[in-house]
């Protein structure tokens, strides 16, 4: 089995593009060094290979089911959860005093990519626990931290995020679960949550649900939502796990993919009282939850990137070994058949995947790097700018990897031909598993509204302005790397160092134009929103999200290409040179084949195309 992501590519991103080694100089991570970072990633690699990959398929084929009211999962799941917890990954980024390891988010993300790629459904139990733990660490009381957080970080309890209800998915403002204040300061929780991942499981001693609910008499809408810790079993002052707490499994949902993670309907307070503990201030639950949701959203992108990468690597290996057909022009039927990677159309599908999955990993890692800057950069302006960039990048980091990797995985399947469609091969499962990513943690449609309706507008567009400036700096750096000025058109790509310089110059010009296009389109939509009804102004938000995503990905590819071109110009040889040429070629592909679609998208958006908006319900 090949390693995902490829170690060379990961090293490239971490140390050549994102300057991760610098994080070891920050006081919070002072105990680390590059060697320690690499050792952490090695452990993740080993965990993935030994504890996750081997039962990826079994956890899909034997999905969790209910026996006598209890959820049965294959035993490998609990063992893997234990191994991930024991290795320290649940607590990895947390404070040392809480039992954490103060690992930078960038390294944690690099590590988790391996777990996602090997077996996302099993890894999810640990990832959900980390997410819920992050929320209690940020907003919980000392008592909540002692009672719930510590056992979660140690892997004794799992965690969930219980927002959605049968009738409140995208519109959390309309959720109906109720919280009734009790004399002792606790709350009685009543209501039904749906889709809750990991909501029931027997892999650990207890489950800690983080539940959004409305305190009786709370104002309507998002300003009346509060956040509660609701354990499956009550935990006493000394930390002992006791009686059940009125959280009852209503049923499991049977899904297309990601089957190994339970998806549950949970009834709170229907059979016996259910106690909840308020986290943070009353009516501020959604704000607290968003703290976790931003990380969760970047996590969704990471999962998509990992699955796309896994499919890419598998289909690449397959294309190198599967022999089929001969090249056009070969008339002699006794000549051996060629490995299918010799067929240009197969290389097209591989290049599409490479350009998507390596950028998706980059985008995820960049966001993690920005979270690190936000939390630990010494300079206040660096922290502020990281926060701003994350505002605009998060909706893209959530939506684009899953969306683009679906197409990439489809190409992987195509490369395997009939075998790709067969359950004996891993691609179809990755295709099913990844399909969740555009849906959960806020659908991609909701991300589009968030980006166009909020993120690019707030503070007079400060976040987007900063992002565009960063893109401009990348253009300048690319030009500087090739000796200033623009370099004419290239015909021979990155084959020689001269070619590398030419390619880079061309890409820099193209990104400059794309940045101008994104800025102009955003401006035009901004002006329109001043006069048009909001529903009309936001009607094509998904197209805008795609335009922004494709431009951001071009920016990432120019960064990678600049590093690669510099190395080639400096005379790198051997396997490293091949690696860098591959980077340049993937960048060329993105700019030549994928970025130009933004021209049509910009035109559609700028003319405020009303085809969709004016389509009437009765006309369908």
């Amino acid at each position: 089995m090949t390693t995902v992501p490829s170690p060379r590519d990961l090293d490239f991103l971490l140390y050549e593009v994102l300057d991760t080694a610098a994080l070891a100089a920050r006081p919070r991570h002072g105990e680390y060094s590059r060697e320690a970072f690499d050792a952490v990633i090695d452990t993740a690699r080993q965990l993935a290979a030994d504890h996750l990959a081997p039962h990826q398929k079994a956890n899909d084929e034997h999905e969790p089911h209910v026996v006598d009211g209890k959820v049965v999962t294959i035993p490998e799941v609990a063992r893997a959860f234990r191994a991930v917890a024991d290795a320290g990954f649940i607590a990895a980024t947390h404070d040392a005093e809480l039992g954490g390891m103060q690992l930078p988010h960038t390294i944690a993300t690099a590590a988790l990519l391996h777990l996602d790629a090997a077996n996302v459904a099993t890894a999810s139990y640990a990832l959900l626990t980390t997410g819920a733990a992050n929320l209690i660490a940020a907003h919980g009381s000392d008592d909540q931290k002692a009672r719930f957080l510590a056992p979660m970080l140690a892997g004794r309890f799992t965690g969930t995020m219980a927002l959605s209800e049968p009738d409140a998915g995208s519109s959390l403002a309309d959720l109906r679960t109720r919280a009734t204040p009790m004399d002792d300061g606790t709350f009685r929780i009543t209501g039904t949550k749906m889709w809750i991942s990991g909501g029931e499981n027997e892999i650990a001693e207890n489950i800690v649900h983080l539940v959004l609910a409305r305190i009786d008499g709370a104002p309507p809408g998002v300003r009346g939502i509060s956040l509660f810790v609701v354990p499956k079993r009550l935990v006493d002052d000394r930390g002992a796990v006791g009686a059940t707490n009125g959280v009852v499994l209503g049923g499991l949902i049977h899904k297309m993919g990601w089957r190994g993670t339970t998806s549950t309907v949970l009834n709170f307070g229907e059979q016996g009282p259910c106690t909840g503990y308020l986290v943070g201030r009353a009516h501020h639950g959604l704000a607290c939850m968003f703290h976790m949701m931003n990380e969760a959203r970047i996590g969704v992108g990471r999962a998509g990137a990992a699955m796309g990468y896994a499919a890419y690597r598998y289909s690449l290996e397959y294309a190198r070994t599967r022999r089929q057909g001969r090249l056009p022009g070969e008339k002699d039927p006794t000549r051996p058949q060629v490995p299918i990677i010799e067929h240009p159309d197969v290389r097209r599908m591989l290049l599409q995947q490479k350009s998507v999955v390596e950028a998706a990993v980059h985008l995820t890692m960049l966001c993690a790097r920005l979270v690190d800057d936000l939390e630990t950069a010494a300079d206040e302006s660096v922290r502020r700018e990281a926060g701003l960039l994350l505002e605009v990048l998060t909706p893209v980091a959530k939506s684009w990897p899953g969306e683009a990797c679906q197409e990439a995985i489809s190409n992987a399947m195509q490369i395997l031909g009939g075998y790709g469609f067969a359950r004996e091969y891993p691609i179809e499962q990755l295709y099913r598993d990844n399909r969740l990513n555009p849906i959960h943690e806020g659908t991609n449609g909701i991300q589009a509204l968030d980006l166009l309706g909020r993120k690019v507008r707030q503070d007079d567009g400060a976040a987007l302005t900063l992002l565009l400036a960063r893109m401009g700096a990348t253009v300048a750096a690319a030009r500087e790397a090739v000796g200033g000025g623009t370099a004419g058109t290239s015909t021979n790509g990155g084959g020689t160092s001269l070619g590398a310089a030419h390619t880079l110059g061309t890409l820099a010009d193209a990104l400059e134009a794309a940045v101008a296009r994104l800025a102009a389109t955003t401006g035009a939509l901004g002006e329109a929103s001043a006069t048009l009804p909001p529903a009309r102004a936001l009607a094509n938000a998904s197209v805008y999200l795609e335009l922004a995503s494709r431009t951001i990905v071009a920016w990432l590819w120019l960064q990678q290409a600049t590093v690669a071109a510099r190395a080639l110009v400096a005379g790198t040889t051997g396997d490293d040179a091949e690696f860098y040429r591959g980077k340049l070629q993937a960048a060329r592909y993105w700019f030549g084949w994928e970025l130009p679609r933004t021209e049509a998208q910009a035109a559609l958006l700028t003319r405020l195309d009303s085809t969709v908006y004016e389509m009437q319900v009765a006309w369908f």
Partner: protein, 250 residues
């Protein structure tokens, strides 16, 4: 109880190797290195014997250039207490030369148990452990798949073709470890951080004279792709014919 475990840094086997220009070694460009597989089992066995015995000390030794310190750190991050780097420019092929350097360090160290992997997965000589035993005048057990120690006596299980045997031996002793003992543990994040503070001593390796050298190294010839000639009993005559005429194995 004092335990020593000798580990080797070897290339990751998961790659397509190339032969170096010298024609006598693999091309090291782009290779990743890690602890040899069986040495990982030996490290695990050392840790388990130590944990059961309660409160001894495990030392890892590795011979080679500076880069082997990474492998020693890995051993430390698994929970081994201290490390000794026996420094030399390159690891010779000749196990006898290596064994002398190790024995020079281990002799007089007061070790109750000296563990090796059954063999290193790069050179597969299976020789260094027994040679060290010989040099130190200690009993030697090879390819143990289980190891228990109590009261100055060791007990090891060895796998044979279709059977297994258990041997007993007095300590101190040298044992080489096969897979079958528990899988090597992962360096946890805590272990990785703790390893940075553990002692790692560097000493010049007192290598013996090299008597065996590699003269050529070759990759196996490329195999032709397999061919499916058909399915079912009807195809057997054709298969036999091809095995006789083309493959010439019958």
């Amino acid at each position: 109880m004092k335990i020593a475990v000798c580990i080797k840094r070897v290339p990751d086997m998961d790659v397509r190797f190339k032969i170096a220009a010298s024609g006598t070694a693999v091309d090291e460009a782009g290779l990743k290195y890690d602890m040899s597989d069986f040495d990982g089992y030996a490290a695990e066995a050392a840790l388990q014997v130590n944990e059961k015995g309660g409160g001894g000390e495990v030392t890892a030794l590795c011979l080679g250039p500076d880069a082997v310190q990474e492998t020693l750190r890995k051993a430390l991050s698994m929970g081994i207490d201290k490390a000794v780097h026996l420094k030399c420019d390159a690891v010779p092929f000749d196990g006898w030369a290596i064994a002398q350097a190790l024995a020079a360090q281990l002799g007089g160290g007061g070790y109750d148990l000296i563990l090796f992997g059954r063999m290193s997965i790069d050179s597969s000589n299976q020789s260094v452990g027994p040679m060290v035993a010989e040099l130190l005048g200690l009993p030697c057990v090879t390819a143990a798949s289980r190891l228990d120690v109590s009261g100055g006596t060791g007990k090891a299980q060895r796998e044979l073709e279709g059977a297994s045997e258990t041997v007993e031996f007095p300590l101190p002793a040298v044992v080489s470890i096969d897979e079958g003992v528990a899988r090597p543990r992962y360096p946890s994040l805590k272990g990785i951080m703790a390893a940075k503070k553990k002692p790692l001593e560097v000493k010049p390796a007192q290598l013996g004279a090299v008597t065996v050298t590699v003269t050529t190294m070759e990759l196996p010839p490329e195999r032709n792709a397999g061919r499916i000639i058909g399915e079912g009993p009807d195809m057997v005559p054709e298969l036999v014919r091809l095995l006789q005429t083309e493959a010439k194995v019958l």
